[in-house]
Amino acid sequence: MIQRLLPLATLATLFIALSLASPYFLTYTNLTSVVRQTAVINVMALGMTLIIIAGGIDLSVGAVMAFSGLLGTMALEAGWPIPAGVALALACGLGWGLANGLLITQLKINPFIVTLGTLGIARGVTLIISDGLPVHRIPKEFSFIGEGNLLGVPFVLWILVFCAVLTHVLLEHTRMGRYAFAIGSNPEAAWYTGIPVAFHTTAVYAYSGLLCGLAGMIEASRLMTGQPTAGQGYELQVIAAVVIGGGSLRGGEGSVAGTLVGAFIMGLLANGSDLLGISPYLQQAIIGGVIILAVAVDEVRKRRFT
């Protein structure tokens, strides 16, 4: 149990340390900006949590996010109402997720390879459609998603809370969530037990795709552009958030709360480095170190107990 709380304790320590180290840290402006900055990674990490629990991996999240954001903003540029644009982005994400899931389960190809492939395809198609150029003519009201406030709280935080609760319920209180744990923990036993493994694996990738579509619109709203090059390298941050939060790449382990903590640990590390004037180059190295440390601690714990 103590080890379960380790990520949370790390987050708290980081929070206190940064409040002491920088007078700017504990301000409304700074904290809301941390929330806004981490929202995109956070939302995608929720979907990734499910995938990793089910024993998979999805490298295509960043590219799918960019694809969805681009198509969504192009729809807005073409005069679609904002909800319709968001819906299109969600549909795009869902489509890519389904494609990933079907390729993995029907062709029985390793998810690492499949999603590495769809990463390339999604990114390439995005660049072809946009001709490499960002979409700029977007209605001003669209910025509300990423930059607006509702009841004094950033709107993205409401989105994040909604998605987190949804994912938590899905994971802990539905058959689909339970099957995800079973498939990730021991796919052979799941198959022997008569669980429709292919269906549920596909569903998990589709759900993650949906969240990537949403993340694409959040990112576009924050930047007020549809960037075909958005989200490059996000897959690694997303996976890192899940893993720091206690998710295991062997499958069968992970939680929504853990992933949120993991994503915020990375957000605070980035924010703290900015405030303390640590170079962004060193930042990357620090985050890399934290990932290895988090997993190492987890492994040592497991070895001691089993």
């Binding site: 539905t174 744990f181 021991n186 036993a189 799941a190 022997y192 037990t193 008569g194």
Partner: protein, 509 residues
């Protein structure tokens, strides 16, 4: 004396694989090592080859005590092993495989391919093997692969060659070929340790025999002086530690009926039926097709032909899900690998097959789930600290009960057990039998595959004996172990006619 083992002991976790292993092999003899599945033959072989270290006992090589910490140390002394499962690199050629890791070198570490192929050709020529040095190993049949293994083993002048179940993957013609080579090696003065459980082979090849039973050497002597019946008695004749009495009862309606189930080469037109309240045992040696039979019924492997009825209705089972719906349950041999999600909590494992009944609109009914978990842990006396404990931490016997409970929760009526007592201690064994008995008394049909003959004799109402994918006998309660063993090992008329074309996939012991 080439090799002498005295009082060798070896434990693997909670299982004592060898308690008192004695063996003496001379040069220029073929020494047969026989025993039931799990008697400790392979462990002994692996100790000799330096693959595992013994816990105790004396190990003499050419009269001097030795220790082989690594396989390479045994190889350096002239001990080589031809493995049960092929350890060849399938994409490399015959020559490359023979000299793998010992290739002739040119300066700068380059491999001298010309010398490599010449040396291989010489070796093959010398033994008149039907091989070519440049053939790719993946194209070879099992016998060909075995010849490559033999080449590799003798290539650096070994004086003791160990064969671990060499013919289990071979057809009869291929077996004859391997025997010819084994005799040839003996004539060159090599000692050959030949592990098998096919008794009919022994006469053709062995000089002396050592019988292992429950990790102990129970007999050793010249093969010519013992009869086959006597060997079988040595193999099975153990006093039972576990006393278990089962009262037979009148069986009810037919719950499982299998007709002409065929999946070549593992299963050849298998037909039988099991009625409610019955426990039917399936006996046979490793590779006889017993596990394959359960897998085929349960939809884990596709079948070529044959039909299955469950409770009077024909069931088309192509997927374990169909089996689950039809009311079948499979308790696999390897619980950790295919029966349980060992890192997940006890409760989740218990309800995994029954979630459709424990959820509404896809949402789990937590309270009902907790209730049934408590009900079933009590009913099956599953001892665990809490329902949230990972099942991997529970004892083997308790894990077995969790698997059974999982299927009971899913309302299964036909239970297929594959080696239900493997890896669990005596007390837990009796409990598992009581559970099976309870299942039967509550109207379930039980089909039990076991390599433990005494257990089958004690528990089963009827016994099916399999050999080479066929049922060779159906024996009533009270059949002796010797009788079962005879049908399981000896060639019957039907078995002789059914000459296999392709090798069976071996169950790993």
């Amino acid at each position: 004396m080439l090799l002498e083992l005295r009082g060798i002991r070896k434990r693997f976790g909670g299982i004592e694989a060898l308690r008192n292993g004695n063996l003496a092999v001379q040069g220029a003899e073929v020494h047969a090592l026989v025993g039931e599945n799990g008697a400790g033959k392979s462990t002994m072989a692996r100790i000799i080859a330096g693959m595992v270290a013994p816990d105790g006992g004396e190990f003499l090589w050419r009269g001097r005590p030795v220790r082989f910490p690594r396989p390479a140390d045994a190889a350096a002394q002239g001990i080589a092993m031809v493995h049960q499962e092929s350890l060849l690199a399938p994409h490399l050629s015959v020559a490359e495989n023979i000299f793998l890791g010992r290739e002739p070198r040119l300066p700068l570490g380059w491999i001298d391919r010309r010398r490599l192929y010449q040396a291989a050709a010489r070796l093959i020529e010398e033994h008149r093997f039907p091989l070519q040095p440049d053939w790719r190993v993946e194209r070879l049949n099992p016998a060909g692969r075995q010849l490559v293994e033999i080449c590799r083993a003798i290539q650096h002048g070994s004086s003791l060659l160990i064969f671990d179940e060499p013919t289990s993957a071979l057809s009869e013609a291929e077996t004859v070929e391997v025997f010819r080579i084994v005799r040839q090696l003996r004539e060159r003065g090599m000692g050959v340790l030949y592990i098998t459980h096919r008794l009919e082979e022994l006469r053709a090849i062995g000089d002396r025999i050592t019988v292992l039973r429950d990790g102990e050497t129970v007999f050793s002597g010249p093969l010519a002086e013992v009869g086959t019946e006597q060997i079988i008695r040595h193999m099975v004749g153990r006093e039972l530690a576990a006393i278990y009495e089962r009262k037979a009862q009148t069986p009810g309606e037919e719950l499982l009926r299998v007709e002409r189930l065929t999946r070549r080469p593992a299963l050849d037109s298998v037909s039988f039926s099991v009625r409610a309240g019955e426990i039917v045992g399936v006996a046979g040696l490793v590779g006889a097709g017993r596990t394959e039979l359960l897998r085929a019924i349960f939809g884990l492997d596709p079948v070529e032909s044959g039909r299955v009825w469950v409770a009077g209705r024909e069931a088309r089972i192509r997927h374990p899900r169909d089996a689950l719906r039809a009311g079948l349950a499979l308790i696999p041999e390897d619980r950790q690998r295919s029966g349980l999600a060992i890192r997940l909590p006890l409760a989740w494992n218990l309800t995994l097959a029954a979630l459709p009944q424990l959820s509404r609109w896809g949402f789990l009914l937590a309270e009902r789930e907790r209730q049934v978990c408590e009900e079933f842990t009590q009913r099956l006396r599953i001892r665990a600290g809490s329902l949230r404990q990972p099942v991997g931490r529970l004892s083997g016997g308790t894990q077995q009960k969790v698997v059974i409970a999982k299927w009971l929760l899913a309302r299964a009526r036909v239970f297929l057990f594959d080696e239900p007592t493997r890896g669990i201690d005596v007390g837990a064994k009796i409990e598992v039998f009581q559970l099976m008995d309870e299942l039967a008394r509550n109207g379930a049909a039980v089909l039990m595959v076991s390599s433990e003959l005494p257990e089958i004799v004690q528990v089963a109402d009827r016994i099916l004996v399999m050999r080479q994918g066929r049922i060779t006998a159906e024996l009533p309660r009270g059949a002796s172990q010797e009788e079962i063993m005879r049908f399981a090992t000896l060639h019957t008329q039907t078995a002789l006619r059914g000459n296999r074309e392709a090798p069976t996939e071996e169950e790993t012991p």
